[in-house]
């Protein structure tokens, strides 16, 4: 009882934080969910993405997304390789959601100047990578409505944590 009162007293004295306005939040909130929530309005095609890719992505990821110098990740190919001795995990063979492709490019790329691509440019480069992986056509437009509807080849390739691989005598 005493400790409950103490907790209430302590909480009453702790800072409640400063309200953040919707405008402040818009600049900060870049989360994109698999259902498309958080995607900004915009559009682009693979054909449009090719120019941007050449200028801003090819230096590391190579001309056709094949990666470079065994350091910069390969983005294309590998479908059917996951059950082999040498699985190749790429956007096309491994990534379960198209929204993650958009989000990764927007949030983290280009490596030296992240978050400088405009939404239309990110839709276009995403379209290019999905086209190279045979997921969409060269002139298919991606936008905030169509992107979350794209079904990636490995969409059903993930299952929940299967560990522990042994029986526990008690759960922690």
């Amino acid at each position: 009882m005493f400790s409950a009162i103490l907790v209430v007293m302590v909480l009453a004295q702790t800072p409640m934080g400063k309200p953040v306005s919707a405008e402040e939040l818009r600049a900060l909130d870049i989360t994109v969910f698999p259902d498309g929530k958080g995607l900004p309005a915009g559009k682009g095609t693979a054909a449009q993405g090719a120019t941007i890719y050449k200028a801003k992505c090819a230096e590391c990821h190579n001309e056709k997304g094949e990666g470079r110098d065994q350091q910069y990740p390969r983005l294309v190919g590998g479908v059917g390789s996951l059950t082999t001795a040498k699985p190749m995990k790429t956007v096309g063979s491994y990534w379960p959601y198209a929204t993650t492709v958009w989000d990764t490019i927007y949030r983290a790329m280009p490596y030296e100047t992240p978050r400088t691509l405009k939404p239309d440019e990110v839709y276009a480069v995403t379209a290019l990578l999905l086209h190279w992986n045979g997921v969409i056509g060269e002139n298919d437009e991606l936008n905030e409505k169509t992107l979350p509807k794209v079904k990636m080849p490995n969409r059903d390739g993930f299952v929940p944590d299967a560990r522990p691989h042994q029986k526990l005598k008690k759960s922690k």
């Binding site: 302590v10 909480l11 702790t14 800072p15 409640m16 934080g17 400063k18 309200p19 953040v20 919707a22 939040l25 900060l28 909130d29 870049i30 989360t31 994109v32 969910f33 698999p34 259902d35 590391c60 110098d69 350091q71 910069y72 996951l82 059950t83 001795a85 699985p87 995990k89 956007v91 491994y94 990534w95 379960p96 959601y97 929204t99 993650t100 989000d103 990764t104 949030r107 983290a108 490596y111 030296e112 992240p114 978050r115 390739g157 993930f158 299952v159 929940p160 944590d161 299967a162 560990r163 522990p164 691989h165 042994q166 029986k167 526990l168 005598k169 008690k170 759960s171 922690k172």
Partner: protein, 389 residues
């Protein structure tokens, strides 16, 4: 104390005195201490790409004592370099499924009731080379993506309660202020259980490499999810399926399926003395010692084998044994000078027994890459040299 120091310094050295008789005035004090110049152990760093800032460095476990990793030797894993963040300008914003989006300054966060707890952080890629068959030559290369520190901060649950989280909230998406805005989705149950917002490490402010001025700490869970340079918590009904939790840190099984959201780091251990790269001076008494840890709770027991894993003897645990924290184990050994395979295995309070590499291979194949915790063996040769097996 100061007067004593001053009087020591006042003693002058005469050139011609024999060394033994020379007054030993010593060095002066330093405003911020450094280790002895004779101590050279350091992290082994590896840049993953030519782009500066992507890579990892490993704690030299084989050279350390006790359980606390000196902050200067804590392992690192960065995806876009270490940002420089001025603490006075730093804000933690909490938004999404909360009554009102709010931001906290570092001063705000320090005003909450604080907690101080030792916990390990282990990269889920730790030991990946062991699984792949490229065993690390020393304990740094085999297990150095593990460190253990005393962390101080505020319970995440305290701050989430202050932000008035809504009932339908199931996940918290944590984002760092590093260049790549690294983000992970954290289940609400873990956020409310024992997660911390940490601003101090081993008694002083966090090091930049560990997330200064603020990081998330998810005790016992894979290090990647304990987001550094934390600046945003997005409370949501679903996971964001970020790059890091889908394309990476998922364990590919031989059937082509990958397990996702494998957060807990299972019980593991490594003998650090004697370990790879060291050399025993000769037959006779040696203390075998190492570290053990479990992401599911307390270490219950550590066993050591001197015949490659056929027979096991219980080691002593140096207390206190705390949940999701590294423990130092020790066992005396009379070495007969013959080639010997030594190994350790950790058993935690849930009864989980650290498996062998073969058992992990059988359970999830050679390409699962992450969350490896197989028994580590070292080979002691007749000349006393120790190598990896």
């Amino acid at each position: 104390m100061l007067a004593l120091g001053a009087s020591f310094m006042a003693v002058s050295c005469s050139k011609n005195e024999p060394t033994a008789a020379k007054p030993q005035s010593g060095l002066t004090m330093r405003a911020y201490g450094e280790r002895s110049p004779f101590e050279k152990t350091q992290r082994g760093a590896r840049e993953s790409t030519k782009s500066i800032g992507v890579g990892s460095s490993r704690t030299p476990l084989q050279d350390l004592y006790g359980t606390i990793t000196p902050s200067s030797l804590h392992f690192e894993r960065h995806h876009a370099g270490v940002p420089v963040i001025e603490p006075a300008a730093h804000r933690l914003v909490i938004h999404g499924l909360v009554e009102q989006a709010v931001s906290f300054t570092m001063e705000d966060l320090r005003r909450f009731p604080s907690v101080t707890r030792p916990h390990f952080i282990e990269c889920s890629g730790n030991g990946g080379g062991e699984l792949a068959g490229n065993a690390g030559a020393d304990a740094s290369r085999s297990h150095g993506l593990l460190s253990n520190s005393e962390w101080t901060g505020v319970k995440l649950s305290t701050v989430l309660e202050a932000a008035k989280v809504k009932a339908d909230a199931k996940w918290v998406i944590a984002e760092g202020a590093d260049a790549c805005r690294m983000a992970r989705s954290i289940p609400m149950a873990k956020a409310m259980e024992d997660s911390l917002l940490v601003y101090a490490q081993n008694g002083e402010a966090l090091r930049p490499e560990q997330g200064y001025p603020l990081r998330l700490l998810l005790p016992g869970w894979e290090g990647n999810a304990s987001i550094k340079w934390l600046h945003r918590l997005h409370v949501a009904a679903e996971a964001a399926m970020t790059n890091q939790e889908t394309a990476h840190y998922t364990d590919l099984h031989p059937d082509g399926k990958a397990t996702i959201f494998s957060f807990e780091m299972e019980a593991s251990s490594v003998i650090t003395r004697p370990s790879g790269g060291q050399k025993l001076a000769g037959a006779g008494f040696h203390e075998v010692s190492g570290l053990a840890w479990s992401g599911r709770g307390k270490v219950a027991k550590v066993e050591v084998s001197f015949d490659g894993g056929a027979n096991w003897k219980e080691a002593v645990l140096d207390g206190p044994v705390l949940p999701k924290a590294a423990v130092r184990f020790r066992i005396p050994w009379q070495w007969d000078g013959q080639p010997t395979l030594i190994a350790s295995r950790c058993i935690d309070e849930t009864g989980y027994v650290q498996p062998t590499r073969d058992e992990i291979l059988a359970a999830r194949g050679p390409n699962s890459q992450y969350h490896y915790n197989g028994v580590k063996r070292w080979s002691v040769k007749a000349d006393g040299s120790v190598t990896s097996v």
